[in-house]
């Protein structure tokens, strides 16, 4: 049974594919976009269509988040696939890619299948697993990435664990490249970053925190770039975070190496000073950088040097966060604040709205081969409708995620999701 057809009128339509940002109307039927108009109104609607008066609200593809952690399987009190999916729907996120460093690790086609079956049962947003690149995310032997890709994993990564052994990384890139599987890797030199919970500098020094230099990221990125050059395989740089590695990335992209890069919304929104009086919700991997790095990251996103924005949603319960900074678990939740935080970059005039939306919809869709992320007749009706100017005070306690570790807690943002559609179904309505 397909849901009731919907018609959105008087919307501010943003199409990341064409870059169109202007008045529009759109019809959803049979789970796909049935008609698109760049006029505000639609003529000749049949009476069984539910008409939604957007009143100038943003209508665009639902966000596609390539980096989400849940606690399922293994740590369900943190977050389940269902609670993450509900949080995503409320945040206008229509597809999430869950990270493999669960317990058990998603390094086996059976676990891929488990995630996909759970997602089907939950029936909210699309949930895709990322498979582990190496067995147990241990960085030694390759995981069964071919079988996992057949089972439905959309890329491979060892999540927060850097693949230290260059020979393993080289073989992984070569092997995955031949099978057309995307490899994602967070560049971090394991020795320089060992035990670090902040970025080395005056601020971390004064707080007495263990810290890593930005060079930890730069060094590993340089290695990865050399291996991409060697193998010719595609690689996605996971959460690039500072000016120095961005320079290296720019050079590699200028040399036409097949690299993609993501940035987390946290690193686009916060800098090291936000740690303040040891706020553990701002303890992240990679650690928050200097303001000059944040600014460079925003510029890189605007220019397209950074392709994709992720929420880096990482739930951690209070007992893992209410600890001294060096002992606390890293990570912050981000699904429900993702859109509002992105919009800050638009409201501050850092980049056009269509560019921002592109980096959180079409760009990730293309990276993993999804048909979503477009406003086109026949495209999946994964959409969000949001009042982008509406003010919003973030209160972590009212968020849906089971863990409340939001770095945005107490912040005033703009942008409230009114409705989220997945395959034409309304999965969230304010």
């Amino acid at each position: 049974m397909s849901p009731q057809p919907l018609a959105f009128v008087n919307a501010r339509l943003v199409d990341p594919e064409s870059g169109y940002d202007g008045p529009g109307a759109l019809i959803v039927a049979e789970g796909v976009i049935a008609d698109v108009s760049h006029e505000a109104a639609l003529a000749g609607l049949s009476p069984d269509v539910r008409v939604i008066e957007a009143a100038g609200a943003l209508l665009c593809p639902g966000l596609i988040d390539l980096r989400v952690k849940t606690g399922e399987p293994g740590s369900e009190p943190k977050e389940t696939l269902k609670s993450a999916a509900r949080a995503a729907a409320a945040g206008g996120v229509t597809s999430i890619v869950v990270q493999p460093d669960t317990n058990p690790v998603i390094d086996d086609p059976a676990v891929v299948d488990f995630i996909l079956r759970r997602a089907r049962d939950i029936e909210l947003v699309h949930v895709y697993p990322a498979g582990a690149a190496t067995k147990g995310c241990q960085g030694a032997g390759m995981a069964e990435i071919g079988l996992m890709a057949e089972a439905g994993c959309v890329y491979v990564t060892d999540a927060d664990h850097p693949i230290v052994d260059s020979r393993v990384m080289r073989r992984l890139l070569a092997y995955a490249g031949a099978l057309g599987i995307l490899v994602a890797h967070r560049p971090a030199d394991p020795w320089l970053s060992a035990g670090a919970s902040a970025t080395e500098g005056e601020f971390a020094g004064r707080l007495g925190l263990s810290a890593e230099p930005v060079a930890a990221e730069t060094i590993m990125l340089e290695r990865d770039i050399a291996l991409v050059e060697l193998t010719g395989s595609r690689m996605m740089v996971d959460q690039i975070s500072a000016a120095a590695p961005l320079e290296r990335l720019a050079r590699a992209k200028d040399a036409r190496l097949p690299l993609l890069a993501t940035a987390s919304i946290n690193h686009l929104s916060f800098n090291e000073i936000d740690i303040g009086d040891y706020r553990t919700f701002c303890k992240l991997v990679p650690p928050l950088r200097a303001e000059t790095d944040r600014s460079a990251l925003i510029d890189a996103l605007a220019s397209g040097l950074v392709d994709i924005v992720v929420s880096a949603h990482a739930p951690a319960p209070a007992e893992d966060k209410r600890l001294p900074f060096d002992e606390a678990a890293p990570g912050a939740i981000g699904l429900e604040t993702f859109l509002s935080a992105l919009l800050t970059l638009y409201h501050e005039g850092r980049m056009p709205l269509a560019r921002l939306i592109h980096a959180a919809t079409l760009a990730p869709a293309k990276a993993i081969g999804l048909a979503a992320g477009r406003i086109a007749v026949g495209a999946p009706a994964d959409l969000l409708l949001a009042d982008i100017d509406a003010p919003r005070l973030i209160d972590a306690e009212t968020l849906i995620s089971k863990s409340k570790n939001s770095a945005f807690d107490g912040r005033r943002l703009q942008g409230v999701v009114r409705m989220t559609l997945v395959d034409g179904r309304v999965v969230y309505e304010a």
């Binding site: 005056e202 004064r206 707080l207 007495g208 040891y278 209410r322 001294p324 900074f325």
Partner: protein
């Protein structure tokens, strides 16, 4: 030296209420408040040299010494300070008991809070632990050392020792030498001494210097001889062997040769220079016994004595704030 201790009422009158509920960092104080605390501590030094050392400024108050890290010196100093002020003092070392049962710092804090203490003195191996604890309890919290962050009462006692030796702190050239990177004593001292107008240098190999230390308002020297040239105070830091996670210096003997303080190197300092050390010392590693034990140049024993007096001043001042509430 014979001094007449001021009377109890006089001391009571001088114990100005502490500016904040907690004492977590030297930056909780301004230079006037520091001077007033040091004046009060001078009174307690005189009192402590008398036969009867008790004064009932904290009568009825409960003090808990919560030491997650072992410390004989600081813990007994706070204990004595509390007892001389008439408080009930208990010592807890949760290392041995609850932590192994999985109890967190916050659990411990909440449990202790329910016992209605007035002042909690905490030492913990993690930076920010005292601040975290202070957010979860109703009483006053005194930071007795949190990881590599701060040890504010140590900086106060060092300032008092310098003030008594030189009559002032402002304008002194103070060289802080050794493992600055891992030292909370160094951080608190740099903050306090620069606030009081001293000219501070940090001296040590680059591997033992915090990142961007040149932005702390200090001179950075990597050579001990140039670092202590003309200094009035040479403060040696403990080489924290237990904190060395990697090879930050090649060997102990090389360290002593290049960075250890002996009489020959000390000759570079200003005439009448004084040597300090927060203790416990690694003799023959960062400091030669010959220097450490020479009472004509070493303030190390004074520092211990000043420690009790300064902590009495801090506790009395915090209690005055509690009394006003």
């Amino acid at each position: 030296m014979i001094t007449i201790a001021p009377g109890i009422d006089e001391i009571r009158a001088r114990a100005a209420p502490f500016p904040k509920r907690h004492f977590l960092s030297v930056t909780d104080l301004d230079p006037v408040q520091v001077a007033s605390l040091l004046d009060l501590a001078d009174d307690f030094v005189a009192l402590n040299r008398q036969k009867s050392k008790k004064i009932d400024l904290l009568k009825g108050r409960t003090l808990i010494n919560l030491f997650f890290e072992a410390s004989t010196r600081t813990q007994s100093s706070f204990e004595l300070a509390g007892k001389r002020l008439g408080a009930d003092v208990i010592n807890m070392s949760p290392r041995a008991s609850s932590i192994v049962k999985g109890e967190t710092l916050i659990d411990t804090a909440v449990t202790l809070n329910a016992m209605q203490p007035d002042i909690l003195i905490i030492r913990h191996g993690s930076s920010g632990a005292a601040s975290l604890l202070s957010q979860k309890v109703d009483c006053s919290v005194v930071n007795a050392g949190d990881g590599q962050h701060e040890h504010p009462s140590q900086a106060l006692l060092d300032a008092l020792s310098m003030r008594r030796a030189f009559g002032r702190v402002g304008g002194l050239i103070v060289a802080i030498c050794g493992d600055v990177a891992h030292s909370r004593v160094a951080r608190s001292n740099v903050a306090l001494l620069t606030m009081l107008g001293a000219q501070v240098r940090v001296v040590g190999p680059p591997t033992l210097m915090p990142a961007d230390v040149h932005r702390w308002g200090v001179e950075v020297h990597h050579d001990l001889k140039s670092g202590i040239e003309g200094a009035q105070v040479v403060m040696m830091l403990r080489l924290q062997l237990e904190r060395m996670q990697g090879a930050l210096v090649p060997s102990m003997r090389e360290y002593f040769r290049l960075w250890g303080l002996d009489r020959e190197k000390l000759a570079r300092a200003a005439p009448g220079a004084k040597v300090m050390h927060p203790g416990p010392m690694n003799r023959g590693v960062e400091i030669d016994s010959d220097v450490a034990d020479d009472l004509s140049i070493s303030l190390i024993q004074d520092q211990v004595e000043m420690g009790v007096a300064v902590r009495m001043a801090v506790l009395a001042s915090l209690a005055a704030r509690l009394d006003n509430r």
